[in-house]
């Protein structure tokens, strides 16, 4: 076991995968010599050579398009989109190509690619470095969508993603790179080295895609969250003293519906939390599924806590970010209902 930040865990996943399989290649903007703007690929070019880890032109459609072609050849590209906000030029390649190649060719060709992308706000990135576009991926059949919340999961899930036979969108909450940020931006963040989930095996291990994890057992209300919001929810639960069960989805597509339903049937209440904008966000899907399957177990309307339906502002970042205060109020609201 080693202590790793989420950056180191992600890097270790790529390192282990490149070591085990010559077909794994890593590329993207600034990922080669420099090792990426967040340093996730640092050292990989030196270790594996520049034909397996290299810099790409600033062309996301080109990065994803070439990755699709490489996958058709038989490679397993794991590419970095420098910020999730930059994926839009590649959206056509992702949705109409990567997601459908297996289906439209009836398995004649497949597309085992991973798109890693730093996601979410909390670093004063403004509208173009803070977005959480996961719902734009979960709406697309043929993709898998993963959002880890800690180093241990990040490594195990990224290894699974690289080994997966289908395209995986791997959204890395960048505010969690260095510690379990709980939304209290005015306090120093505990480093991952002091957190149990910062303890990461150095070798190969895989966490299955499609399995949620219960981060806190509770009986009063179920909180469904993923990424940064897992830690925000845990803080809100602690601060309100409400005995909530906190589910970390880890993978949005496929979704571990059973874990959610079992919990809501037990608690009778549900709050869904995400940083992405509210309208047509993934929380809407979770809320719909919960009412569809648990309507007669519910004792209160399902409440969603999300980013406001506005672009991510710069100066007012902390008024936008759904922090522990807002989550706490939502918990109180469902308990009162």
């Amino acid at each position: 076991m080693a202590r790793m930040t989420m950056i180191e865990a992600v890097r270790s996943a790529m390192d282990v995968s490149m070591e085990r399989d010559d077909n794994v290649v890593v590329f993207g903007e600034d990922v080669g010599y420099f090792g990426g703007v967040f340093r996730c690929t640092q050292g990989l070019q030196a270790k594996y050579g520049k034909t397996r880890c290299f810099d790409a032109p600033i062309s996301e459609s080109g990065i994803v398009g070439t990755a699709i072609g490489m996958a058709a050849y038989g490679l397993k590209p794991c590419v970095e989109i420098q910020f999730a906000d930059y994926m839009y030029p590649a959206y056509d390649q992702i949705t109409q190509e990567a997601a459908r190649i297996r289906y439209r060719s009836n398995g004649d060709f497949t597309c085992p690619i991973v798109l890693r992308m730093p996601t979410g706000g909390g670093i004063f990135g403004g509208q173009t470095h803070s977005q959480s576009p996961e719902a734009l991926f979960t709406h697309v059949c043929g993709l898998k969508v993963v959002v880890p919340s800690n180093p241990y999961d990040a490594k195990g899930l990224l290894i699974s993603a690289i080994e997966d036979p289908d395209p995986v969108m791997f959204l890395e909450p960048k505010r969690l790179y260095n510690g379990p940020f709980d939304g209290h931006h005015d306090r120093p963040v505990t480093p991952w080295s002091k957190h149990e989930l910062g303890e990461v095996p150095e070798g190969h291990y895989a966490i299955p895609i499609g399995k949620a994890e219960i981060r806190r057992q509770g009986s009063a209300v179920t909180v469904v969250a993923y990424g940064t919001m897992v830690h925000v929810a845990l803080a809100a639960v602690e601060e309100t003293g409400i005995d909530a069960e906190v589910i970390d989805l880890r993978s949005l597509l496929p979704l571990d519906l059973d874990t959610i339903l079992q919990s809501v049937m037990k608690t009778g209440r549900c709050v869904v939390v995400h940083e992405a904008t509210l309208t047509s966000g993934f929380g809407g899907e979770v809320a719909a599924l919960v009412q569809e399957h648990c309507f007669y177990h519910l004792e209160a309307p399902i409440v969603r806590v999300a980013g406001w339906d506005t672009p991510y502002p710069h100066a007012q970042e902390w008024d936008y970010f759904p922090g522990p205060g807002r989550v706490g109020r939502a918990l109180a609201e469902v308990m009162e209902a």
Partner: protein, 410 residues
């Protein structure tokens, strides 16, 4: 007051519209045999002229002339002629089948048969094409079974794609034919990625990208050229300039650049323009580009100058946007007739044998169609299962799709 006049927007127009006299006098056509053939390792900057000329081998009399002649034997040319004739006959039957309601949609190759048929012969087994919807010649020239193509077109119970794809959007890894998207230009950059992968693995295979004149306006075209030139990928970047993008003439996509081939020059990619209706010229130029790729010299851009004689698809009527007689005025002629003339001139072929071959080929196509129709057509007979809707979205069916399949009753 300003010293400048009011601005005005320039919207290009084709030379002639319906009702007018077709006029291709603005198409500058080099004399057959007049364009030099450089060595494959020539520095791109020394052969920039090739992007502005038209490489031609067959002259008006049917002779093969100049430095690009001689890449194929008579036997190979006879095979090529047969491929083009087969594609034409296949198209005619499938167009009729669409009109009879046996499929929803069809796209023919009329006038452009030489491009894909001759190109295929420059590739080897294991190389990969990333085609558009108008390159079925790649399959025909690689002897992919016509009945399989028809099963796909009819979306019947033997459809290799299980009814999921629009007619003619074939896929065959075995025949080096990447699954056609139906989306435009996306495959261009994917071909570059495939070629990069071959180079990463120190393989010997090369890739070919295909695009039409209209779709070169898509950003993926430019992404492809950036990646291809940056990494010197072993890829042939083909542009089929058939003059029309549905109803839009090629001047709308070309903008102010002299030719489509010239777009490659800014990237330092050797760019050649070739007579797309000249089987010999298409083969010679493709072969030159393939050799460059195989020698690790990097990408080559080729513009095939041709003319789409038919409609874009079964969903449009060209007489609404161009003169009906325009195709007859097209100065580069008919690829089948030109190759036929050449072979007759050489004594390798005759009118009688041609008529006989036409009959044989038609019979072959009809037999294939009969075989395919046994397994159904779009609205009659055997069809793919409803279950096939849900299969194959992922390698392993996730629970939510399984629930939906059960809900659908399968």
């Amino acid at each position: 007051m300003t010293e400048f006049p009011q601005l005005s927007l320039h919207v290009p127009e084709p030379a002639v519209r319906p009702g007018g006299q077709p006029d291709f006098s603005n198409v500058d056509i080099a004399k057959a045999g007049s364009v030099p053939r450089p060595e494959v390792d020539a520095a791109p900057e020394t052969i920039r002229d090739l992007a502005y000329s038209i490489i031609r081998v067959l002259n008006r009399d049917g002779d093969a002339v100049g430095p690009w002649a001689g890449s194929l034997s008579d036997a190979e040319l006879l095979t090529g002629l047969r491929h083009m004739m087969k594609l034409r006959a296949f198209d005619a039957r499938m167009l009729m089948a669409q009109r009879q309601g046996k499929t929803s949609f069809y796209m023919q190759h009329l006038g452009e048969e030489a491009v894909a048929c001759a190109f295929r012969k420059a590739l080897k087994k294991g190389d990969m094409n990333f085609p558009t919807y108008r390159q079925a010649g790649l399959l025909i020239a690689d002897d992919y079974p016509m009945v399989e193509m028809m099963n796909q077109i009819f979306s019947n119970e033997r459809d290799p794609l299980r009814g999921r794809q629009l007619p003619i959007m074939y896929s065959s890894k075995e025949h080096g034919f990447f699954t056609i998207s139906g989306n435009l230009a996306t495959q261009y950059v994917q071909a570059v990625g495939w070629a990069m992968a071959s180079a990463i693995k120190n393989d010997t295979k090369i890739a070919a990208a295909w695009i039409g004149d209209g779709s070169t306006a898509e950003s993926d075209f430019h992404s492809a050229l950036v990646f291809a030139s940056t990494y010197k990928a072993p890829v042939i970047l083909n542009i089929v300039n058939n003059q029309w993008a549905i109803s839009t003439f090629q001047g709308i996509a070309r903008g102010g650049s002299g030719t489509f081939a010239a777009r490659g020059l800014g990237f330092g990619i050797p760019a050649l323009r070739v007579d797309g209706n000249d089987y010999l010229a298409v083969h010679a130029v493709s072969h030159w580009a393939a050799e460059r790729a195989r020698r690790n010299l990097g990408p080559t851009l080729i513009e095939y100058v041709t003319y789409r004689v038919g409609a874009h698809s079964t969903s449009d009527d060209p007489s609404a946007y161009r003169p009906k007689t325009e195709s007859e005025a097209w100065p580069l002629g008919d690829p089948v007739l030109r190759l036929k003339k050449h072979l007759i001139l050489k004594g390798a072929w005759s009118e009688e044998r041609h008529v006989q071959a036409e009959a044989e080929i038609l019979d072959e196509v009809i037999q294939a169609q009969k075989q395919a129709e046994v397994h159904g057509t779009l609205h009659a007979g055997g069809k793919p299962s409803v279950r096939d809707i849900f299969e194959g979205v992922y390698a392993e069916m996730p629970p939510h799709i399984r629930r939906q399949r059960q809900k659908a009753g399968y």
